[in-house]
Structures are given as C-alpha cells and as structure tokens.
Symmetry: C2
Subunit: 266 residues, 2 copies
C-alpha cells in the first residue's frame, strides 16, 4: 500500500486521486493539507513511531506531495523510536531545502520503504519545451529567461533558488527561503529602480532529487505573476509541476501571460 505524505497546496489531492487505490494520508502536525483529511498526523519528534505505524499498516511505498516547510522541534517530545534518527533529522534541519528532503528520503528508504515521485502519478503535469497557450515569449523575454536560468544555475550547487525574476536584462528578485509566492508579492510594491515587465523562471536545482519538492506552478503563481506585472512564466521542461495544465494554460491566456518550457539546468 502507498502512504501519501501530504504537504500543502493542491498537489496531494491530485496524486491521491490518481494512484489507483486510495492511499493512507499522513501529514505533518501544523501543516494540514488544504483539501485532504489525514489519517495520521505526525511530528518530526515522533518520526520513528510514524515509520513503525506505516509498516504495521501494510505500507510499502511512500510519496511526498505538496509543500512541507521546515517544522520547529521540541526536544522534550522526541520518543524512543525517533531518538536513533535524531542525528539525521538535525542534519536535515541545518541543511538547505533539497539537502533536507534528500535526508528525509534516505530515512524512509533506510526503514524499508520505496519512495515514489508524485510525477509518476501525474505525469501529464510535466509540460514540454516551447510556448504553451496563445502568448509566445518574444526575443526580449527569451533573453531575460536565459539570464534568470544562468542565475539559478550559478546558485544551484549552493542549494539555493528555485525561482528568479528578470526584467529588461536586470535581475529583479531571486527566490530564497520564503518561496516563490512571497517573492512575487514583494514585487507588487517595487522599488522605483525595478524595470517594468519581466519573467519568472522556475526550475529545480541541478541534480535535485525530483521525488520531493519538485517546483510547482499553480493558479496562485499565475495570479501573483499577473499582479506583479510580469509578461510570463518560464519553467524547466519536464521538471516543474503545472497544476492543472489545461486550467493553467487557460488562465495564462486570459491574463495575457506566456507559459514557456525551457531547457532544464541539468
């Protein structure tokens, strides 16, 4: 049986609906899924007990879907089954996002579970290269996309940055720990130095384990990009989840935004 470790956003629901038999849904305490009701809520301090409960329930495979942010930990709550995992968990909490998720994946694998990518269930969310929808990225937008891609590629080895905004050749914003939506919100009240227009580029880091935290583009991303006055969104072809593609393309069309698949960083 599959356990879905559900984070926030609409992705967990889509995955649950596509995996044949309904999965066992587990969620991290304090980060309830937007639409699913979890059967199990766990804390990092009791992760060892979660692993045991999943195994007892007949779970052999797990899938991480949706955004899970760095939780806080209370050392007093760590239980006996979790104590041996603490060195790994603390290492993960100190690390960048990808580092952290890679460690969590290894903890699940070491406990005997196989970890499946959400994209195995919603492969149609991964769009190909080129323009989707009615608006095409023009020559100036393609130059901005290339510059943003260079910035993401330079930061990639440092486990920083899944998004970057470039306008008229100028780097306007680089995504940090606060995420894409926060970055775009901050552009709604820009410095007078920020050129108008621009593109948002999203890509996983080079070598990132795509079984967890694949970057996603959803209705909020499109709406916030539109409010920030951008011309469009580019994403690494086949490496970014677009939820749900038909709706996203329709939304981009009506907002006059392009939606462009570019070469992945790796």
């Amino acid at each position: 049986m599959l356990a879905l470790i559900a984070g926030q956003g609409a992705l967990p629901t889509r995955v649950a609906a596509r995996c044949g038999r309904w999965p066992l849904v587990a969620a991290l305490d304090g980060f309830p899924p937007d639409e699913l009701l979890p059967e199990i809520t766990f804390r990092l301090e009791t992760l060892g007990t979660l692993l045991q409960s999943l195994a007892k329930a007949g779970v052999t495979e797990v899938c991480f879907a949706g955004a899970i942010h760095r939780p806080t930990m209370d050392p007093n709550l760590i239980d006996q089954a979790t104590a041996p995992l603490m060195p790994k968990i603390l290492e993960a909490l100190r690390d960048g996002d990808d580092g952290a998720l890679a460690i969590v994946i290894r903890v699940f694998e070491a406990a005997g579970f196989s970890v499946r990518a959400p994209s195995e269930f919603v492969g149609d969310f991964l769009l190909a290269g080129g323009d989707h929808g009615k608006v095409a990225a023009d020559a100036s937008a393609l130059r901005d996309i290339a510059r943003a891609r260079d910035v993401l590629a330079a930061l990639s080895p440092l486990d920083v940055g899944q998004g970057c905004v470039v306008a008229q050749g100028q780097v306007v914003a680089i995504e940090a720990v606060a995420g894409t939506d926060w970055m775009l919100h901050s552009l709604q009240n820009p410095s007078p130095r920020v050129p108008k227009g621009g593109v948002l580029v999203k890509a996983p880091k080079a070598g990132q384990d795509l079984r967890a935290d694949m970057p996603a583009i959803g209705p909020d991303t499109l709406a916030t990009a539109f409010k920030a006055g951008l011309q469009g969104i580019a994403f690494a072809a086949h490496q970014v989840m677009v939820l749900d593609p038909d709706d996203a393309i329709a939304q981009a069309n009506s907002a006059g935004l392009f939606l462009h698949g570019m070469d992945p960083l790796s």
Copy 2:
C-alpha cells in the same frame, strides 16, 4: 582640477571635504545629491557635452561618488556631442550594474580624464578584517557569514548581488536591482518561513572596478538591519565603505549589532 560626479547618499560630501581644493560638482539630472549643490547637472543624452564642458573648465580628473541609479533616456534629447557615444551608453544601460559603470568609466577615460576612486580620499572608511565595536560575531554568525559569502561568490561572475542575508544557515534574501535597503525593508514583514536573526553580508563582486559603486554601509543600513531583526553586518575587509566609521561603530554598539570584516571575494 577634480570633478566630483556626485550620486546620492552622504559619500559625495565626505569626498568633497577631503580632496583639498573644492571639486567641481556635477550630478545626473533627476538624482540630486543629498547635501551638495551641483554646479553642473547633466543628462545621459548630453554626456558628450558634459565631457567637453569639464575639459573647458580645466578638469583633468573625475571621481564618481554616491549611488547613481540607472537613468531613463529620451532619444529626442541626444545632442551632437553625445551621438558618437550612444553605442557605448546603450551597451551600459543593457548591462548589469558593474558592467554599466565600467563602460561609463571607459567613456571618461577615452575622453582624456583620469578616474580616481573615492577611497583615495576617504581611505579611513575602509575597515580591516575582524570585529569592530563591542559585539563579536559568534560561531553561528560566522557560519551564516560564510554561507552568504558563498552565495555572493557564485553570483559574482553574473554581475548580480552585492548583498545577501542568511539566518540559521538558510538564505533569506539576495540583493537584486532594488538594492540593500529595499531588501532589508522587505524583511521587516517576513514570511513565517524565515528564521529569526541572521546576518547581512556586503561585498563588491570579484573583479569589480572599485573606482565606482563600491558597496557602502551607512546609518540607514544599520538602522534597517536593526529593524529587520538581524544580529549584525559583515563586509569584505578594505572593500566596503563604512560611513563614518566611528559613528557606525557607535550605532552598532548601541543597537547590539556586530560589524565584522571578512575576507573579500577576490
């Protein structure tokens, strides 16, 4: 005679007061110096005429001091003396900040002026390595400083980023076209994902021409860093202007911030 091409902030006044004979002060239209009254106000469209006027006035040396942001251009205002310079000016406007300033410096040099660094006049603004003031950067802050330095070093070849904020190992913000103060302001209303505390690290890019746009730390930087809840500020030793060092150290002390000189990127 020296012409001071005065941008914004307090640096031009400090340079003017230290260069022996009072300089001829020139400023870009729309970017009046905060404290000096310019004798000449010029536009990019009439830069060629400025160069001629400076030469006629007996100017042989120029010094760029203070922040000058990317001005807009009206093609109808370009005069005859400036037309031949337009390819260079347009190249500069398309480029990153350092690229742009390097081109402007070359234009002045090609017209026969020698370009002097502000630091030649206010060398005492360049602080050495280590802690200045009462508060020392602790081990955790030194780790955050090293991570921010890595981010700036990775972006440096792309002519992006003179500043970065890291807190508890997480990259919180990376300076883009809007500048340091805007980046720090945006942290006053942070995402819940942003860890508390953190350090601001400022450094010129590797290989940056330090005759123009050397990064600066002034009273506003310290005040905004304090409001953003940071623990301190680190800067590339001997490569960042601290205005005025005694006041800055006193301000850091009273705010409980450290002020730490680190190894430059190059």
